[in-house]
Symmetry: C2
Subunit: 204 residues, 2 copies
Protein backbone atom coordinates (compact mmCIF):
# COMPACT_ATOMS: atom_id res chain seq x y z
CA UNK A 1 0.00 0.00 0.00
CA UNK A 2 1.30 3.45 -0.91
CA UNK A 3 1.76 6.37 1.48
CA UNK A 4 -1.35 7.45 3.27
CA UNK A 5 -1.77 11.21 3.17
CA UNK A 6 -1.16 13.22 6.33
CA UNK A 7 -2.25 16.64 5.21
CA UNK A 8 -5.74 17.81 4.25
CA UNK A 9 -4.62 18.52 0.71
CA UNK A 10 -3.15 15.04 0.43
CA UNK A 11 -6.34 13.40 1.62
CA UNK A 12 -8.34 15.40 -0.90
CA UNK A 13 -6.04 14.36 -3.73
CA UNK A 14 -6.09 10.69 -2.81
CA UNK A 15 -9.86 10.79 -2.51
CA UNK A 16 -10.15 12.50 -5.87
CA UNK A 17 -8.01 9.82 -7.51
CA UNK A 18 -10.08 7.02 -6.01
CA UNK A 19 -13.33 8.69 -6.95
CA UNK A 20 -12.29 9.27 -10.56
CA UNK A 21 -10.87 5.79 -10.92
CA UNK A 22 -13.98 4.20 -9.45
CA UNK A 23 -16.18 6.18 -11.78
CA UNK A 24 -14.18 5.27 -14.87
CA UNK A 25 -13.96 1.62 -13.90
CA UNK A 26 -17.64 1.48 -13.17
CA UNK A 27 -18.42 2.84 -16.61
CA UNK A 28 -15.84 1.15 -18.81
CA UNK A 29 -14.66 -1.84 -16.86
CA UNK A 30 -11.35 -2.40 -15.14
CA UNK A 31 -9.41 -3.34 -18.26
CA UNK A 32 -10.34 -0.30 -20.30
CA UNK A 33 -9.07 2.22 -17.77
CA UNK A 34 -5.46 3.42 -18.01
CA UNK A 35 -3.49 5.42 -15.53
CA UNK A 36 -3.46 8.29 -17.98
CA UNK A 37 -7.24 8.24 -17.97
CA UNK A 38 -7.30 8.40 -14.21
CA UNK A 39 -4.82 11.25 -14.17
CA UNK A 40 -6.82 13.28 -16.62
CA UNK A 41 -10.11 12.64 -14.83
CA UNK A 42 -8.69 13.43 -11.43
CA UNK A 43 -6.55 16.32 -12.63
CA UNK A 44 -3.35 14.98 -11.11
CA UNK A 45 0.07 13.99 -12.38
CA UNK A 46 1.70 10.63 -12.64
CA UNK A 47 3.72 11.18 -9.51
CA UNK A 48 0.64 11.53 -7.36
CA UNK A 49 -0.61 8.14 -8.38
CA UNK A 50 2.64 6.52 -7.44
CA UNK A 51 2.86 8.58 -4.31
CA UNK A 52 -0.40 7.25 -2.92
CA UNK A 53 -0.45 3.79 -4.53
CA UNK A 54 2.26 1.24 -5.11
CA UNK A 55 1.22 0.37 -8.62
CA UNK A 56 -1.82 -0.14 -10.80
CA UNK A 57 -2.92 -3.27 -8.96
CA UNK A 58 -2.75 -1.48 -5.64
CA UNK A 59 -4.93 1.28 -7.06
CA UNK A 60 -7.48 -1.25 -8.30
CA UNK A 61 -7.58 -2.97 -4.92
CA UNK A 62 -8.07 0.37 -3.24
CA UNK A 63 -10.90 1.17 -5.63
CA UNK A 64 -12.54 -2.10 -4.67
CA UNK A 65 -12.41 -1.28 -1.00
CA UNK A 66 -13.54 2.26 -1.59
CA UNK A 67 -16.44 1.15 -3.79
CA UNK A 68 -17.63 -1.33 -1.22
CA UNK A 69 -17.51 1.32 1.48
CA UNK A 70 -19.42 3.78 -0.67
CA UNK A 71 -22.17 1.34 -1.64
CA UNK A 72 -22.64 0.11 1.90
CA UNK A 73 -22.57 3.60 3.36
CA UNK A 74 -25.24 4.71 0.91
CA UNK A 75 -27.52 1.86 1.88
CA UNK A 76 -26.81 1.88 5.57
CA UNK A 77 -29.83 3.89 6.74
CA UNK A 78 -32.15 1.60 4.79
CA UNK A 79 -30.32 -1.56 5.83
CA UNK A 80 -30.85 -0.76 9.48
CA UNK A 81 -34.60 -0.88 8.95
CA UNK A 82 -34.94 -4.21 7.16
CA UNK A 83 -36.73 -5.71 10.10
CA UNK A 84 -40.21 -5.43 8.69
CA UNK A 85 -41.84 -6.16 5.33
CA UNK A 86 -42.28 -2.44 4.81
CA UNK A 87 -38.62 -1.77 5.57
CA UNK A 88 -37.54 -4.47 3.16
CA UNK A 89 -39.79 -2.97 0.51
CA UNK A 90 -38.15 0.40 1.00
CA UNK A 91 -34.75 -1.22 0.60
CA UNK A 92 -35.82 -3.01 -2.57
CA UNK A 93 -37.31 0.17 -3.99
CA UNK A 94 -34.03 1.97 -3.41
CA UNK A 95 -32.12 -0.79 -5.20
CA UNK A 96 -34.43 -0.57 -8.18
CA UNK A 97 -34.24 3.20 -8.22
CA UNK A 98 -30.47 3.08 -8.09
CA UNK A 99 -30.33 0.56 -10.91
CA UNK A 100 -32.56 2.78 -13.02
CA UNK A 101 -30.55 5.97 -12.73
CA UNK A 102 -29.95 7.47 -16.10
CA UNK A 103 -26.20 7.78 -15.79
CA UNK A 104 -25.78 4.31 -14.38
CA UNK A 105 -24.94 1.56 -16.82
CA UNK A 106 -26.89 -0.66 -14.51
CA UNK A 107 -25.56 -3.60 -12.65
CA UNK A 108 -24.23 -3.71 -9.15
CA UNK A 109 -21.00 -1.81 -8.58
CA UNK A 110 -19.79 -4.56 -6.26
CA UNK A 111 -21.15 -7.42 -8.30
CA UNK A 112 -19.60 -6.16 -11.52
CA UNK A 113 -16.23 -5.74 -9.91
CA UNK A 114 -16.56 -9.16 -8.33
CA UNK A 115 -17.15 -10.95 -11.58
CA UNK A 116 -14.29 -9.07 -13.21
CA UNK A 117 -11.75 -9.55 -10.47
CA UNK A 118 -12.63 -12.52 -8.32
CA UNK A 119 -10.68 -14.76 -10.66
CA UNK A 120 -7.56 -12.67 -10.24
CA UNK A 121 -6.08 -13.74 -6.92
CA UNK A 122 -7.35 -15.07 -3.64
CA UNK A 123 -6.71 -11.84 -1.78
CA UNK A 124 -8.95 -9.88 -4.12
CA UNK A 125 -11.60 -12.57 -4.07
CA UNK A 126 -11.54 -12.50 -0.28
CA UNK A 127 -12.26 -8.78 -0.41
CA UNK A 128 -15.53 -9.57 -2.16
CA UNK A 129 -16.38 -12.35 0.24
CA UNK A 130 -16.02 -9.80 3.03
CA UNK A 131 -17.99 -7.21 1.10
CA UNK A 132 -20.96 -9.47 0.60
CA UNK A 133 -20.77 -10.58 4.21
CA UNK A 134 -20.83 -6.98 5.39
CA UNK A 135 -23.73 -6.26 3.07
CA UNK A 136 -25.69 -9.24 4.23
CA UNK A 137 -25.06 -8.81 7.94
CA UNK A 138 -27.66 -6.12 8.62
CA UNK A 139 -30.22 -8.06 6.61
CA UNK A 140 -29.59 -11.19 8.66
CA UNK A 141 -29.78 -9.13 11.83
CA UNK A 142 -33.07 -7.58 10.75
CA UNK A 143 -34.60 -10.91 9.85
CA UNK A 144 -33.46 -12.31 13.16
CA UNK A 145 -35.19 -9.47 15.00
CA UNK A 146 -38.34 -10.27 13.03
CA UNK A 147 -38.01 -13.88 14.10
CA UNK A 148 -37.56 -12.96 17.75
CA UNK A 149 -40.56 -10.70 17.67
CA UNK A 150 -42.61 -13.54 16.22
CA UNK A 151 -43.17 -11.98 12.84
CA UNK A 152 -41.15 -14.70 11.18
CA UNK A 153 -41.74 -18.40 11.70
CA UNK A 154 -39.14 -19.81 14.09
CA UNK A 155 -38.26 -22.73 11.84
CA UNK A 156 -36.95 -20.67 8.90
CA UNK A 157 -33.22 -20.24 8.51
CA UNK A 158 -32.69 -16.48 8.28
CA UNK A 159 -29.23 -16.80 6.75
CA UNK A 160 -30.68 -18.90 3.98
CA UNK A 161 -33.36 -16.32 3.41
CA UNK A 162 -30.73 -13.60 3.30
CA UNK A 163 -28.52 -15.57 0.90
CA UNK A 164 -31.45 -16.13 -1.38
CA UNK A 165 -32.24 -12.44 -1.32
CA UNK A 166 -28.69 -11.43 -2.17
CA UNK A 167 -28.65 -13.86 -5.07
CA UNK A 168 -31.89 -12.39 -6.39
CA UNK A 169 -30.46 -8.88 -6.15
CA UNK A 170 -27.25 -9.77 -7.93
CA UNK A 171 -28.92 -11.79 -10.65
CA UNK A 172 -31.57 -9.16 -11.17
CA UNK A 173 -28.98 -6.40 -11.44
CA UNK A 174 -26.90 -8.39 -13.89
CA UNK A 175 -29.84 -9.02 -16.18
CA UNK A 176 -30.96 -5.43 -15.80
CA UNK A 177 -27.50 -4.36 -16.93
CA UNK A 178 -27.65 -6.57 -19.99
CA UNK A 179 -31.19 -5.68 -21.00
CA UNK A 180 -30.99 -2.07 -19.90
CA UNK A 181 -34.31 -2.25 -18.22
CA UNK A 182 -35.18 -2.61 -14.55
CA UNK A 183 -38.04 -5.01 -15.24
CA UNK A 184 -36.15 -8.16 -14.53
CA UNK A 185 -34.63 -6.69 -11.40
CA UNK A 186 -38.10 -5.85 -10.17
CA UNK A 187 -39.26 -9.40 -10.86
CA UNK A 188 -36.27 -10.95 -9.15
CA UNK A 189 -36.89 -8.86 -6.07
CA UNK A 190 -40.56 -9.78 -6.17
CA UNK A 191 -39.43 -13.40 -6.03
CA UNK A 192 -37.31 -12.73 -2.99
CA UNK A 193 -40.23 -10.87 -1.50
CA UNK A 194 -42.44 -13.91 -2.05
CA UNK A 195 -39.94 -16.12 -0.27
CA UNK A 196 -40.06 -13.73 2.65
CA UNK A 197 -43.84 -13.72 2.57
CA UNK A 198 -43.77 -17.50 2.88
CA UNK A 199 -41.63 -17.25 5.95
CA UNK A 200 -43.98 -14.91 7.76
CA UNK A 201 -46.11 -16.40 10.48
CA UNK A 202 -49.61 -17.08 9.20
CA UNK A 203 -51.70 -14.09 10.20
CA UNK A 204 -52.44 -14.44 13.87
Amino acid sequence: MGHLPTTARGRATRARILESAADLIQRRGVAAVTLDDVERAAGVGRSQLYHYFDDRDDLIRSVVHSTVDTVLAAQEPLLLEVDSPAGIDRWFDAIVANGTRQDAVGGCAIGSLASQLSGRDDLTRQAFVDAFARWEAPLIAGLRRMQESGELRPDVDVTELADLTMAAIQGGLLLAQVRRTPDQLRLALRGARAALEDALTPLS
Copy 2:
Protein backbone atom coordinates in the same frame (compact mmCIF):
# COMPACT_ATOMS: atom_id res chain seq x y z
CA MET B 1 -14.62 -11.66 -39.33
CA GLY B 2 -11.50 -13.57 -40.39
CA HIS B 3 -11.32 -16.36 -42.92
CA LEU B 4 -13.45 -19.34 -42.12
CA PRO B 5 -11.49 -22.55 -42.56
CA THR B 6 -12.24 -24.75 -45.54
CA THR B 7 -10.11 -27.76 -44.73
CA ALA B 8 -10.47 -30.21 -41.84
CA ARG B 9 -7.13 -29.14 -40.43
CA GLY B 10 -8.17 -25.52 -40.55
CA ARG B 11 -11.41 -26.21 -38.74
CA ALA B 12 -9.55 -28.10 -36.05
CA THR B 13 -7.09 -25.24 -35.58
CA ARG B 14 -9.77 -22.58 -35.41
CA ALA B 15 -11.73 -24.69 -32.95
CA ARG B 16 -8.62 -25.24 -30.84
CA ILE B 17 -7.95 -21.50 -30.71
CA LEU B 18 -11.52 -20.74 -29.64
CA GLU B 19 -11.49 -23.48 -27.04
CA SER B 20 -8.20 -22.37 -25.50
CA ALA B 21 -9.19 -18.72 -25.56
CA ALA B 22 -12.55 -19.46 -23.97
CA ASP B 23 -10.90 -21.52 -21.25
CA LEU B 24 -8.31 -18.86 -20.44
CA ILE B 25 -10.88 -16.08 -20.46
CA GLN B 26 -13.19 -18.07 -18.27
CA ARG B 27 -10.45 -18.56 -15.73
CA ARG B 28 -8.64 -15.22 -15.72
CA GLY B 29 -11.07 -12.78 -17.25
CA VAL B 30 -11.00 -11.13 -20.64
CA ALA B 31 -8.47 -8.44 -19.75
CA ALA B 32 -5.84 -10.79 -18.37
CA VAL B 33 -5.59 -12.93 -21.48
CA THR B 34 -3.03 -11.96 -24.13
CA LEU B 35 -2.72 -13.31 -27.64
CA ASP B 36 0.57 -14.91 -26.61
CA ASP B 37 -1.30 -16.81 -23.91
CA VAL B 38 -3.81 -18.06 -26.42
CA GLU B 39 -1.07 -19.09 -28.83
CA ARG B 40 0.77 -21.06 -26.18
CA ALA B 41 -2.39 -22.74 -24.90
CA ALA B 42 -3.60 -23.64 -28.36
CA GLY B 43 -0.18 -24.52 -29.68
CA VAL B 44 -0.41 -22.24 -32.69
CA GLY B 45 1.57 -19.35 -34.07
CA ARG B 46 0.65 -15.73 -34.33
CA SER B 47 -0.20 -16.01 -38.00
CA GLN B 48 -2.97 -18.52 -37.32
CA LEU B 49 -4.73 -16.10 -35.03
CA TYR B 50 -4.71 -13.41 -37.66
CA HIS B 51 -5.62 -15.88 -40.34
CA TYR B 52 -8.88 -16.87 -38.66
CA PHE B 53 -9.70 -13.65 -36.82
CA ASP B 54 -9.43 -10.01 -37.82
CA ASP B 55 -7.97 -8.84 -34.54
CA ARG B 56 -8.22 -9.34 -30.84
CA ASP B 57 -11.72 -7.92 -30.60
CA ASP B 58 -12.93 -10.22 -33.31
CA LEU B 59 -11.48 -13.16 -31.40
CA ILE B 60 -13.25 -12.07 -28.21
CA ARG B 61 -16.56 -11.70 -30.02
CA SER B 62 -16.11 -15.14 -31.51
CA VAL B 63 -15.38 -16.55 -28.07
CA VAL B 64 -18.61 -15.02 -26.82
CA HIS B 65 -20.65 -16.66 -29.56
CA SER B 66 -18.85 -19.94 -29.17
CA THR B 67 -19.33 -19.93 -25.41
CA VAL B 68 -23.01 -19.25 -25.70
CA ASP B 69 -23.40 -22.06 -28.21
CA THR B 70 -21.44 -24.46 -26.00
CA VAL B 71 -23.40 -23.70 -22.85
CA LEU B 72 -26.76 -23.90 -24.57
CA ALA B 73 -25.86 -27.08 -26.45
CA ALA B 74 -24.76 -28.73 -23.21
CA GLN B 75 -28.06 -27.91 -21.53
CA GLU B 76 -30.31 -28.54 -24.48
CA PRO B 77 -31.43 -32.08 -23.59
CA LEU B 78 -32.36 -30.96 -20.10
CA LEU B 79 -33.96 -27.74 -21.28
CA LEU B 80 -36.36 -29.65 -23.48
CA GLU B 81 -37.74 -31.38 -20.41
CA VAL B 82 -38.41 -28.43 -18.16
CA ASP B 83 -42.12 -28.96 -18.42
CA SER B 84 -42.55 -30.66 -15.08
CA PRO B 85 -41.30 -30.06 -11.55
CA ALA B 86 -39.12 -33.14 -11.86
CA GLY B 87 -37.65 -31.93 -15.13
CA ILE B 88 -36.88 -28.54 -13.63
CA ASP B 89 -35.21 -30.24 -10.70
CA ARG B 90 -33.00 -32.19 -13.06
CA TRP B 91 -32.06 -28.98 -14.80
CA PHE B 92 -31.26 -27.25 -11.52
CA ASP B 93 -29.21 -30.23 -10.37
CA ALA B 94 -27.18 -30.07 -13.54
CA ILE B 95 -26.50 -26.37 -13.03
CA VAL B 96 -25.33 -26.98 -9.48
CA ALA B 97 -23.19 -29.93 -10.59
CA ASN B 98 -21.64 -27.82 -13.33
CA GLY B 99 -20.89 -25.01 -10.92
CA THR B 100 -19.23 -27.43 -8.54
CA ARG B 101 -16.82 -29.00 -11.01
CA GLN B 102 -13.32 -29.03 -9.61
CA ASP B 103 -11.70 -27.27 -12.50
CA ALA B 104 -14.40 -24.67 -12.80
CA VAL B 105 -13.85 -21.37 -11.03
CA GLY B 106 -17.58 -21.25 -10.66
CA GLY B 107 -19.79 -18.60 -12.08
CA CYS B 108 -21.75 -18.70 -15.25
CA ALA B 109 -19.66 -18.63 -18.40
CA ILE B 110 -22.24 -16.42 -20.08
CA GLY B 111 -23.00 -14.29 -17.06
CA SER B 112 -19.35 -13.57 -16.34
CA LEU B 113 -18.71 -12.55 -19.92
CA ALA B 114 -21.85 -10.46 -19.91
CA SER B 115 -20.85 -8.38 -16.91
CA GLN B 116 -17.35 -7.91 -18.30
CA LEU B 117 -18.35 -6.98 -21.81
CA SER B 118 -21.88 -5.63 -21.86
CA GLY B 119 -20.53 -2.18 -21.15
CA ARG B 120 -18.25 -2.31 -24.18
CA ASP B 121 -20.53 -1.56 -27.13
CA ASP B 122 -24.14 -2.07 -28.02
CA LEU B 123 -23.42 -4.83 -30.50
CA THR B 124 -21.71 -6.95 -27.88
CA ARG B 125 -24.41 -6.23 -25.34
CA GLN B 126 -27.02 -7.29 -27.86
CA ALA B 127 -25.24 -10.62 -28.22
CA PHE B 128 -25.90 -11.26 -24.55
CA VAL B 129 -29.49 -10.13 -24.78
CA ASP B 130 -29.93 -12.74 -27.50
CA ALA B 131 -28.03 -15.34 -25.52
CA PHE B 132 -30.24 -14.97 -22.49
CA ALA B 133 -33.33 -14.97 -24.70
CA ARG B 134 -32.26 -18.20 -26.36
CA TRP B 135 -31.53 -19.70 -22.97
CA GLU B 136 -34.86 -18.65 -21.55
CA ALA B 137 -36.98 -19.66 -24.52
CA PRO B 138 -37.19 -23.40 -23.81
CA LEU B 139 -37.98 -22.67 -20.17
CA ILE B 140 -40.83 -20.37 -21.13
CA ALA B 141 -42.06 -22.98 -23.59
CA GLY B 142 -41.93 -25.69 -20.94
CA LEU B 143 -43.78 -23.60 -18.41
CA ARG B 144 -46.39 -22.76 -21.02
CA ARG B 145 -46.93 -26.46 -21.70
CA MET B 146 -47.40 -26.96 -17.98
CA GLN B 147 -49.93 -24.19 -17.96
CA GLU B 148 -51.85 -25.63 -20.91
CA SER B 149 -51.94 -29.05 -19.30
CA GLY B 150 -53.36 -27.47 -16.18
CA GLU B 151 -50.38 -28.13 -13.97
CA LEU B 152 -49.76 -24.42 -13.62
CA ARG B 153 -52.37 -21.91 -12.60
CA PRO B 154 -53.66 -20.01 -15.61
CA ASP B 155 -53.21 -16.62 -14.00
CA VAL B 156 -49.44 -16.78 -13.57
CA ASP B 157 -47.24 -15.03 -16.10
CA VAL B 158 -44.80 -17.68 -17.30
CA THR B 159 -42.32 -15.17 -18.70
CA GLU B 160 -42.13 -13.51 -15.32
CA LEU B 161 -41.54 -16.87 -13.70
CA ALA B 162 -38.82 -17.61 -16.22
CA ASP B 163 -37.18 -14.21 -15.72
CA LEU B 164 -37.19 -14.69 -12.00
CA THR B 165 -35.60 -18.11 -12.42
CA MET B 166 -32.85 -16.80 -14.68
CA ALA B 167 -32.08 -14.05 -12.18
CA ALA B 168 -31.81 -16.62 -9.40
CA ILE B 169 -29.46 -18.73 -11.49
CA GLN B 170 -27.22 -15.80 -12.38
CA GLY B 171 -27.11 -14.38 -8.89
CA GLY B 172 -26.52 -17.78 -7.37
CA LEU B 173 -23.68 -18.52 -9.75
CA LEU B 174 -22.05 -15.15 -9.13
CA LEU B 175 -22.08 -15.63 -5.38
CA ALA B 176 -20.93 -19.21 -5.78
CA GLN B 177 -18.01 -17.91 -7.80
CA VAL B 178 -17.06 -15.42 -5.12
CA ARG B 179 -17.47 -17.76 -2.19
CA ARG B 180 -16.22 -20.82 -3.99
CA THR B 181 -19.02 -22.93 -2.66
CA PRO B 182 -22.23 -24.05 -4.31
CA ASP B 183 -24.31 -23.50 -1.17
CA GLN B 184 -25.65 -20.15 -2.17
CA LEU B 185 -26.39 -21.33 -5.67
CA ARG B 186 -28.41 -24.19 -4.21
CA LEU B 187 -30.35 -21.79 -2.01
CA ALA B 188 -31.04 -19.39 -4.85
CA LEU B 189 -32.40 -22.23 -6.96
CA ARG B 190 -34.49 -23.43 -4.05
CA GLY B 191 -36.00 -19.96 -3.98
CA ALA B 192 -36.88 -20.16 -7.66
CA ARG B 193 -38.25 -23.61 -7.03
CA ALA B 194 -40.50 -22.22 -4.30
CA ALA B 195 -41.81 -19.57 -6.68
CA LEU B 196 -42.67 -22.33 -9.12
CA GLU B 197 -44.32 -24.34 -6.38
CA ASP B 198 -46.52 -21.35 -5.62
CA ALA B 199 -47.62 -21.22 -9.24
CA LEU B 200 -48.71 -24.85 -9.34
CA THR B 201 -52.41 -25.51 -9.20
CA PRO B 202 -53.45 -26.48 -5.67
CA LEU B 203 -53.49 -30.30 -5.62
CA SER B 204 -56.60 -31.35 -7.42
